[in-house]
Subunit: 565 residues, 2 copies
């Protein structure tokens, strides 16, 4: 089984040259996030990933999780690996040092998280949800709740989950039936939740469920959010009795088999004790805080798994000998990496992965700016850009993960469908990324509706203007590659602008037409903005003759010739 | 678990209107293949598929095959289902009635086979390989071999397999090491073969292995083909001793888990007895007879599974209620089939499946013409067209199977990745179709090299001329849809012609460049020729106001708007 090496040089290039760490580390509180510090953090993350977490990826898939009498047993090695993850402080990279976090920018947390997803998507899903829960609690929880739960969650001593879905309430949360009834200082929660990732496990001694439940009959507006701990916590922070909730079963899934997906039952014995987060009837609003974060993270899953699948396929293509190299004189069997079609496949994997990574990190950098920039106008503009890009990073990134993982299978030939080769797992694992945290169709609806039509295309058009600024620089570069990139990017910008105008003009009079075009539009935005990132990369690499920068130019050229067409 | 219904009306439409049954049933020996007879045959196939074979698809996947001490046990129900398949004569649809076949055109056999693949791809893989072996033996075997084996294989009382691959010899068969040494009237075969589909099973009392083995050291030209039966056959046709061959293990695969993929060992005790097919050193040539047949069949696997996945997803979309229909006034939860993006996905599945089906059946009709037309020139032209289209049907058809199965998962939302829903199996099953019988990359290399460059693009250009003949008819139809279809098809023809010219001009001076463009070229040919078929369908449906024909026009329009772009 090939190992995983975090692509530190690629990440560094994106962080510094494309996403703009220089601007981020000028933000208040992020002064320590210098390139050196960031390098050091990612280097350490890469070591833990390669040495401890990645080796559990295939074994975890083969073993899966065991379920018996409400207890979930994670695969061999997961408890110990998670303990190391907690000891390294990796749950708290972007969080307040006052609660045990590292206080680093989301840009850095995003890069680190790509490493965890690549190493072991099933494992990383636990901190992913915990991170989202931490952000939600930090933003909307009372001081009392924070005092009891936030430190434990920031360090990862306890893990957070997200309980939204019920059998009749998937994409449509207005149909949630779980109930919350006020009972003195807390609430009694009853109902069943499904698809709860890491809803039960044996890696920590408590699990903090964030549960959406109904406090009134007013549809989507009657939902409130509760903290419902697996084990009740005394005022002094010690663990007490089990709460009235249990894991009923876990799902038999296509992939991420090492991550338990639980059916949870609340209140079988009268009501699980839940603590209201914020105010009643604002649950959906709070959940959205968490979902934006989680959606960026799910896009990153696609990117991380794509990187891993690429490395796996590249290693195979270097080792496997079959057929002749058409550029060689010899009849000796050549490594298949010499075959033009295999090279085309590898380049398509790399080009897509790099473009999606750059766009995700760029979005993360703007998340930091949106949170911390001293100028209100800049904050607002960055927030709008983040809001526009989040559904794109989620859906386009996860679709790229699927496509790249599928290509990795193809490069393996016959062994590609044999589980022992490790190749099929990437596709099986990453497939869910296009579905959970809002299907990619829901992301596209969010994009065309809430993000484009609602503000008459303002942010989308501003992005096109920003993208077009690169056209002049590309023209000035005066080489064939830059000319090809310029021409493709110009077409991409035109298509983006034209489609945006159409959405703005059509949305009010024919919503169904816009909804039918939502997914193609999202793909267009992702491909175009990804092309913009690749063009930036090509320019940043121009005039540098080393292999690394030459590769960046080749990959950008491939991207515009094969993807941005 | 939703059932499968053979799409008989769609098949009939393709067979009669697009593939040209009228011309096929004028061929000598095919006079009985009237539309009524064909309907009856497919109707019967559909019943057996729905009632017996399709219900074993999911259970077979869950149970898989068991292996112990060289013995393979197929999943519950397979033995009985296969007996019914044999009793119905379904193994012999296109073969000589003198050997127990039905003597029907390949066009009909192709449609019937789509039904088996759709019902149960793992099950159908056994008759697929047997059919290929029958054709090979009928074409190249001696009368003595035919007397002993061909009747049994045509009825399916014994099944045929294809033993090519070895660990070091996958796509590159010149590296085969299995040896054949002459020993009196037969040969002693020694060596190991891997990836042998249905290489061992419990459905019949003998298995007839077609084994590629080395009779001299002359690379690819030193390979000969042998019949190596699992159980030796006495002159009177009775079964005797076990031959010196055994199944060493079976693979743990991503999909088609009900079909055993065997590692076979020949001659552990001195040499398995093998009988030479045809002449020594012509093994590869003979194998190609079988491979062309098998490649068409693998493309059909993609189409069959695509149809099944479409039906599964459509049923789910009709039953599952979630969110609002944007065209409805009510707030009641709507079946998700009312959502524009779900409709877009369903139409993309249907459009791709129908285009690939039409092209596959069209190729099958030309296979019949190539075999039986009284005019030598017509036979040769049809054969050249078949040779051009086979790699396209194989690769484009299997890629469409993967894409459609992937979309079926997406339509299911969260349940799409839960195995109990049945949705993930289609993707897991069909994934191998892009790999076996020559990877899709190999198909593309075959297309640009042996099929286009070698004859200076003659047949490809003839196909473009044929395709362009439809442009005038589309212009004459004078409606918006026909105009849109015409314009897309014209662009498709131009791209096909231009790329063909480039291949012809470039192949000799820069083979690597052509090879790098091989897969995109194959996709272009498939998409373009598929668009031609959809345009034909739209014209055939013009002026007919029933739902069926209206749907054909809508699907054709969708195809050119979303796929042929």
């Amino acid at each position: 089984m090939s190992t995983y090496l975090a692509p530190l040089a690629d990440m560094r290039f994106v962080i510094n040259e494309l996403a703009g760490l220089d601007a981020v580390c000028k933000l208040p509180g992020y002064e320590d996030a210098t390139p050196d510090t960031v390098d050091h953090i990612l280097d350490e993350a890469g070591k833990l990933a390669s040495d401890v977490i990645a080796p559990l990826n295939h074994t975890g898939d083969v073993e899966g999780c065991a379920f018996e009498n409400g207890v979930v047993r994670t695969p061999k090695g997961f408890i110990e690996a998670y303990a190391q993850f907690v000891a390294g402080g990796w749950n708290g990279v972007p969080f307040d040092p006052a609660h045990g976090g590292m206080g680093l920018p989301w840009l850095v947390a995003t890069a680190a998280f790509e490493i965890w997803h690549a190493a072991n998507m099933a494992f990383a899903l636990c901190p992913l949800l915990n991170q989202a829960a931490c952000e939600l609690l930090a933003t909307h929880g009372s001081q009392a709740l924070k005092d009891v739960y936030l430190d434990k969650m920031t360090t990862g001593a306890w893990t957070g989950t997200m309980n939204l879905t019920e059998p009749q309430a998937g994409s449509d949360l207005s149909r949630v039936r779980a109930k919350a009834v006020k009972h003195g200082p807390h609430y009694h929660i009853t109902g069943q939740k499904i698809f709860i990732s890491w809803g039960e496990h044996d890696m920590t001694d408590n699990i903090v469920h964030l549960v959406l439940a109904r406090t009134s009959d007013a549809g989507i507006k009657g939902l409130s959010l509760f903290i419902v701990p697996k084990v009740l916590v005394a005022e002094d922070g010690t663990l007490g009795q089990r709460n009235d909730l249990r894991c009923v079963s876990i799902e038999h899934k296509l992939g991420i088999k090492a991550s338990p997906t639980a059916v949870m039952s609340y209140g079988d014995d009268g009501g699980a004790i839940g603590y209201l987060v914020g105010e009643e009837n604002r649950g959906i609003e709070y959940m959205f805080t968490m979902m934006n974060n989680a959606r960026l993270a799910v896009g990153l899953e696609g990117i991380g798994v794509a990187e891993r699948a690429y490395q796996h396929a590249l290693n195979f293509a270097i080792e496997r000998r079959q057929g002749r190299d058409p550029n060689a004189k010899t009849n000796e069997p050549a490594p298949i990496v010499r075959h033009p079609d295999v090279r085309r496949m590898l380049l398509s994997m790399r080009a897509q992965t790099e473009a999606a990574r750059a766009l995700a990190y760029f979005a993360a950098a703007h998340l930091d700016i949106a949170k911390r920039h001293p100028d209100d106008k800049v904050r607002k503009e960055s927030q709008a850009l983040v809001d526009l890009l989040i559904p794109v990073v989620k859906a386009w990134g996860s679709d790229i993960g699927i496509d790249v993982a599928n290509t990795a299978i193809q490069i393996h030939g016959g062994t590609g469908v044999i589980e022992e080769s490790g190749a099929p797992q990437y596709l099986r694992d990453v497939r869910v990324a296009a579905i959970y945290e809002g299907t990619n169709g829901i992301q596209a609806i969010d994009l065309v509706g809430r993000k484009v039509a609602r503000e008459q295309g303002r942010t989308a058009r501003a992005l096109v203007i920003e993208m077009r600024k690169l056209l002049g620089k590309l023209a000035a570069a005066k080489d064939d590659d830059a000319a090809a990139i310029r021409s493709a990017l110009a077409r991409g910008c035109d298509a983006f602008a034209e489609a945006t105008d159409w959405i703005v003009a059509t949305h009010a009079k024919d919503a169904a037409a816009v909804l039918a075009g939502a997914v193609p539009y999202l793909k267009l935005v992702g491909t175009g903005a990804g092309g913009w990132m690749m063009a930036k990369a090509a320019l940043a690499a121009t005039g540098k003759d080393d292999h690394f920068h030459a590769d960046k130019r080749v990959t950008a050229r491939f991207y515009v010739d094969h993807i941005l067409v």
